[in-house]
């Protein structure tokens, strides 16, 4: 998908045929035996590769556009998303969803609200749900992962067993069972339910990375210098482990938004629709879907584009930060 080779050495021609692949491998071997290029930090070399990676640029572009849109959408939207300017056009029997007309390029929804404005403003709540769910899951996972990875022993065993069990429940089922605990579904039910499904992922990732560092030289050096155990964990080990966890967070943002849409689709989301959200709009469109598929297609397309943006960005970040892909 992307160019795996660093830019320090001239990028070898990518072999297409089988024979060319062999030739290239021999060239690679030869190149590897030559003195290494002067040391470049992981992040610097990653950034250098990312700047030229079209996949990353597209992903980051979509993400940036989405965030800007979410911030400025209240001023951009021609109508108040809760206002009902098209209400008198709604005919529950013959014409439940008003079509496009001057001033309302996408028409209205089943309550006569301007669809374009709802889509624009909807980006805000969608961003909030995705970011809040990921942040909650992130911090929950970091806490558990640090506990397990830094303290080790029986705490590690107990925490990891719980994490394994949480991982063993399919995430959508877990989210549904969490959502079942609340009396009245709301935006926060969705956020918490999705966050809980992400805690074990982050915890496992961080713990694995911390365990790997416990015997590494820089930790040993810090210990030998008499740095307090707490400081070793929080100043030397955790910051070094955060890279993969942050990349994972980018990817998780995409799944959060999709899972939130799934929960809304099943009717477990926020029932108060004065503040629009894409997943909720998609869920609310269900009864009208066969005569007016556009009511579902617009918010779904928005979700797909944004999820794709986060996924492309996350995938290329992961590839760039993977030391194995550095040459």
């Amino acid at each position: 998908m992307t160019d795996q080779h660093g830019t320090e050495t001239p990028a070898p021609q990518r072999g297409r045929s089988y024979g060319e692949r062999r030739k290239q491998r021999i060239d690679d071997l030869a190149a590897a035996s030559v003195d290494e290029a002067p040391g470049v930090s992981l992040y610097a070399s990653a950034w250098r590769r990312l700047r030229r990676n079209p996949v990353f640029l597209i992903g980051a572009g979509i993400t940036l556009l989405f965030v800007i849109l979410a911030v400025i959408s209240p001023w951009l939207a021609p109508w108040d998303p809760a206002a009902t300017p098209l209400l008198d056009k709604v005919r529950p029997q013959s014409n439940p969803v008003p079509g496009p007309e001057p001033g309302h390029p996408l028409g209205g929804d089943d309550r006569g609200r301007d669809l374009l404005s709802r889509l624009l403003v909807g980006s805000q709540q969608t961003l909030i749900v995705g970011v809040m769910a990921t942040l909650l899951g992130f911090f929950g996972g970091i806490t558990l992962g640090t506990l397990a990875g830094a303290l080790g022993g029986w705490i590690d065993s107990v925490v990891m067993r719980i994490v394994d069990v949480l991982l063993s429940i399919p995430s959508l089922l877990l989210a549904i069972s969490i959502a079942a605990l609340s009396q009245k579904p709301s935006q926060w039910t969705v956020i918490v339910a999705i966050a809980v499904t992400q805690v074990p992922i982050f915890a496992r990732l961080l713990r694995g990375s911390l365990l790997g560092q416990r015997v590494s030289d820089h930790v040993l050096a810090a210990r030998a210098l008499g740095v307090k155990p707490g400081a070793v964990v929080f100043r030397h080990m955790v910051p070094n482990s955060l890279g993969p966890v942050i990349v994972q967070a980018t990817l998780v943002l995409a799944t959060s938004i999709i899972d939130a849409a799934a929960l809304s689709f099943l009717g477990l989301g926020n029932s108060d629709d004065r503040k629009p959200e894409w997943g909720q709009m998609l869920g609310r469109a269900q009864p009208f879907i066969y005569d007016n598929p556009h009511l579902a297609i617009y918010p779904a397309a928005c979700i797909i584009v944004v999820a794709l943006g986060f996924t492309l960005m996350g995938e290329s970040l992961r590839e760039a930060l993977d030391p194995k892909s550095r040459r």
Partner: protein, 336 residues
Amino acid sequence: MLRFIIRRLFQMVGVVLVLSFLLFMWLRSLPGGPVSAILGERATASRRQALEAALGLDQPIFVQYLKFLQRAIQGEFGISTQVLPGTDALEIFLMRLPATIELSFFAMLIAIPLAIPLGYFAARRRGSALDNTSIVVSLLGVAVPVFFTAFLLKYFFAIKWPIFPVSGRQSGDIDATRVTGFFVLDGILTREWDAAWDALMHLALPAIALATIPFAVIFRITRASVLDVLDEDYVRTAEAKGLTLRVIRSRHVLRNAMLPVTTIIGLQVGALLGGAVLTETVFSFPGIGQALAEAFRDKDYAVLQVLIMAAAAIFVLVNLLVDISYALIDPRVRAR
């Protein structure tokens, strides 16, 4: 090998115990507590008290937990209040299970034979048009919500161009004999070919929609794994020895590259269960996924309890099988 299996079985018991404890706590924190969970919210006060005594809710919490375990082992999860009022919750689960197994099986039957060869050739011709196209398709598989894929398929291939049936497992006018509960298999066993064909047509769209989830994941893992293996020394050695491409492919590359793929196929079972909730809802396909969505919507906690417990148990069991097959393929795993 036997020692490995026994060790894994013990680990599984631990996981199941923790799982049952979490489920117990979950049940206790449901709105209204376990009594409402079993009897439903509209039960009379006297029935509530009788059940509270029977469940031993006045006893210490660990006694309650043990009683809960006892009931779970005996399969007593209570009576359905909403999904099929009056029916035992476990029975509903057993009734609905074959439909979901059939659906997941066909989804995997579509996903695996497509994803593994595509992943292999994408890795082999890295950077080619085939590689880039399949990456984009698999990324779309991740980014498009499965219920939306299901809706699009239904909208175009069942409503706009009515090639496939809109919903259900079999047309009502077909008089099929039930043997196993798997409708396609039943039709083949009883030689009722029309019934088997009809069930297959009903399965097609939901199975394709559901297949997008495992397809994307299996494709990506296969591609990454083949890329890793192609760089290994033993592949170069095999090439240097002058072995034919076919031998290298089957003995050296694929056999090693398939290890992570086996694991991920096992892990996909969980994702399939989650996806089944959504696809079954879109196609009104009467499996456990649809029962789960209904149970949640109507707050039928007895059914919800069985389904969540069973789904997790199935997932744990499948992973045990995956681990064992993994150890069979790769001797190094047994030593660990």
